[in-house]
Symmetry: C2
C-alpha cells in the first residue's frame, strides 16, 4: 500500500494543509478557515473533517496515512500537549490525542509553529544539509526555532527558540508584548522597526528622509529607503542589524549552529538585510563562530506544512 502523511499548520486565520507522499513530495495543498468561536473548540474537528474530505478526493484511505504533523502558535510539551495558544483561544489541550481520536487513531505529532517552520526549512528550504540550525522568523513578532541533530529542540517549558524575548537592552522603558522590557522583538520585528522609525523621526525633526511622508513606515519602506541611501532608512536598517546580529552572536555562544536561516516578512528585504546583519553578527560573535553562514528562508508560507509533516516522516 502506498503511504502518505499530512502536514497541518494551524494559524489564527487559516489552517494550511498539505498532503505528502511518504518520500516527502507535496501532492496537494489546501486551506480551511480557523473558527475561533467557542474558545477554538471546533478547530480540530474542522481540521479532521477537511483532511477526510481531501483524502476522499484523492482516493486515499485514512489508514494509508502514516500520521498527521501539526504546527500550532503556542508552547508545546512532549510533542502533543499545547500550553496556551492565545490566537486560537486554547488553554492546556492535548492536541495530539484529540486530533488522533477524530481521525480513527492515526498518529499525530505537534510542534510549536516557529519550531516546525525551522524543521521545514532544514528539510526542504534554506537549511538543507544542516542538522543543527536556527531559524529566526522576523514577522509581527520575532519567532525562532532550534534544530539539534535534525530534530526540534522544544525545551523544558516549550520555550526553546524564543529568541524574540532575549533582553537586548535592560534600560529600555517600552514594554514588549510579553510584558517585559528591551526584548529583541521590540527592535527587529516588523512592528518593532516601525516603532523605531517613529522614534527616529520624532528625535530627528530636521532630518530629511523619504520616510517622513509615510503615515507608518513598514519594514519594506525602511529597507527600500536604505537601499536608496536615505539616511534615516540606513540608520534604522543598521539599528535592526545591530540588535539582530548581537542576538544571533549570543545564540552562537550557546549552541554554535551550522547555519542561521532568516524568514518572515522583514526577511523579504533580502540581500541588504543579510549584508547588514552579517556584518554585526561577525562583529559580536565569538571568534570561533564568526563564519557561521546566514541565509534566507526559501519556503515562505509553506515552511509550516513541510515542517509539520516532517515530524511524521523523520
Amino acid at each position: 500500500m502506498e503511504r502518505y502523511a499530512v502536514g497541518a499548520d494551524i494559524g489564527g486565520t487559516a489552517v494550511k494543509l498539505g498532503l505528502f507522499s511518504e518520500e516527502g513530495g507535496l501532492l496537494d495543498r489546501w486551506e480551511t478557515k480557523t473558527r475561533q468561536e467557542d474558545s477554538g473548540a471546533h478547530i480540530l474537528e474542522d481540521t479532521a473533517e477537511s483532511i477526510r474530505r481531501q483524502l476522499e478526493r484523492h482516493g486515499v484511505q485514512l489508514q494509508a496515512l502514516r500520521g498527521v504533523g501539526v504546527g500550532v502558535p503556542g508552547a508545546v510539551m512532549q510533542s502533543s500537549i499545547v500550553n496556551r495558544c492565545v490566537n486560537l483561544g486554547w488553554g492546556v489541550k492535548n492536541v495530539a490525542q484529540e486530533l488522533s481520536a477524530l481521525l480513527d487513531g492515526i498518529p499525530v505529532t505537534v510542534g510549536n509553529d516557529a519550531n516546525v517552520a525551522a524543521l521545514g526549512e532544514m528539510w526542504k528550504g534554506g537549511g538543507q544539509g544542516c542538522d543543527n540550525m536556527v531559524m529566526i522568523t522576523l514577522g509581527t513578532g520575532v519567532g525562532g526555532g532550534i534544530i539539534v541533530g535534525g530534530r526540534i529542540l522544544p525545551g523544558r517549558f516549550g520555550a526553546a527558540g524564543e529568541i524574540g524575548h532575549m533582553c537586548m537592552n535592560p534600560d529600555e522603558k517600552a514594554v514588549c508584548g510579553c510584558g517585559k522590557n528591551g526584548h529583541l522583538e521590540q527592535y527587529a520585528s516588523a512592528t518593532g522597526i516601525t516603532r523605531m522609525a517613529a522614534l527616529y523621526l520624532e528625535e530627528h525633526p530636521q532630518q530629511q528622509t523619504c520616510l517622513r511622508a509615510l503615515a507608518q513606515p513598514t519594514a519594506k519602506d525602511i529597507f527600500d529607503a536604505a537601499r536608496g541611501e536615505d539616511p534615516a532608512g540606513l540608520q534604522l536598517a543598521e539599528q535592526l542589524g545591530d540588535m539582530l546580529g548581537r542576538a544571533m552572536a549570543a545564540v552562537s555562544c550557546v549552541i554554535d549552529p551550522d547555519l542561521f536561516v532568516l524568514g518572515g516578512g522583514v526577511s523579504r528585504a533580502g540581500q541588504i538585510l543579510l549584508d547588514i546583519v552579517g556584518r554585526y553578527y561577525r562583529h559580536y560573535a565569538f571568534h570561533a563562530s564568526e563564519e557561521t553562514p546566514i541565509v534566507l528562508a526559501q519556503l515562505g508560507n509553506d515552511a509550516g506544512i513541510y515542517g509539520a509533516v516532517r515530524q511524521i516522516l523523520q
Copy 2:
C-alpha cells in the same frame, strides 16, 4: 572479564585521572604533571604511560578498558580533533587518534573541558536526572557546557557553551581576553569581579567599605563582604548577579534547559550567589522559563574526570 574505563582531565598544570568500573564507580584517582615543553608534545605520552602504570598497579589489563575519555582546555571537533589549546601549546591535533595509538588501539573520546565538566555534573553531580542542562563555570574565565539529550552539544566550531563570550554590554571599552568587548567573562569571572571591584572603589572614593583595605579583593572577599551587608560588597554582588542572570535568561530563550548548574571558584559563594543570580534570572527570563532551577555544582575538581569517562560509559 570485568571491564573498566579511564577519565583524563588534561589541564595546564596537571592531568587528573580516574579509573572507573564499567558501572561508573570511581575506583582510583591520581594525577600527573602536565609537561608543557616542546609545544606540549609529551603530554599524551605521559598520560598514556601514567594510565599503563596505574592499571598495572591494579592488576588490570589494558584490553579490559572500554576506553579513555578525555577533557581538554580547547575547542574539540567530532569528539577527537582539538583545535588549539593555548594552555597546552597544542595547535590542531587529533588527540583521540594519537592517544589511542599510544594505548594499543583502545577507543578514545575527547571533549572540551567545560563541556565535559557539564556532563560529569549531569551524571553524578548537581544535574542528576536532567537530560538537558547547562553548566556555567565561574573561574578565571567563564566557561559553559551544554547538555542536550544527555550528551555534550559541541557546536559546529566547537564553540557551543562559550557563554563567557556573550556580549552583555556593547558599549564596554575594556577588552576581553578573546579580544572583543563587553563579554560576560569580563564581569562574572573571578578576575572580572576583581576588576569591577577596583573600578567601583575608584569611582566611589567616599564609600566606606571593608574592601578598601585589600590590595585586590577576590570573589570570596566580595561575597563575604556582601554577606556582612558591606555596601560595596552588596553592590558588586548585585552587578555580577545582574549580568549573569541576564546571560542565563538569554540561554533559556535559546534552549530552555531543565536546569542550570553553577560551578567554579566564584560559585563557592554558595547560597547568596544562587539567591542574587536567581532573582535577576527571573527578572529577565521569558515568562515560560522563569522557574528553571539554578543549583550549585557538587563534584568540584572531579567533574572533569567523571564527565571525561562518561563519554565512554554512556
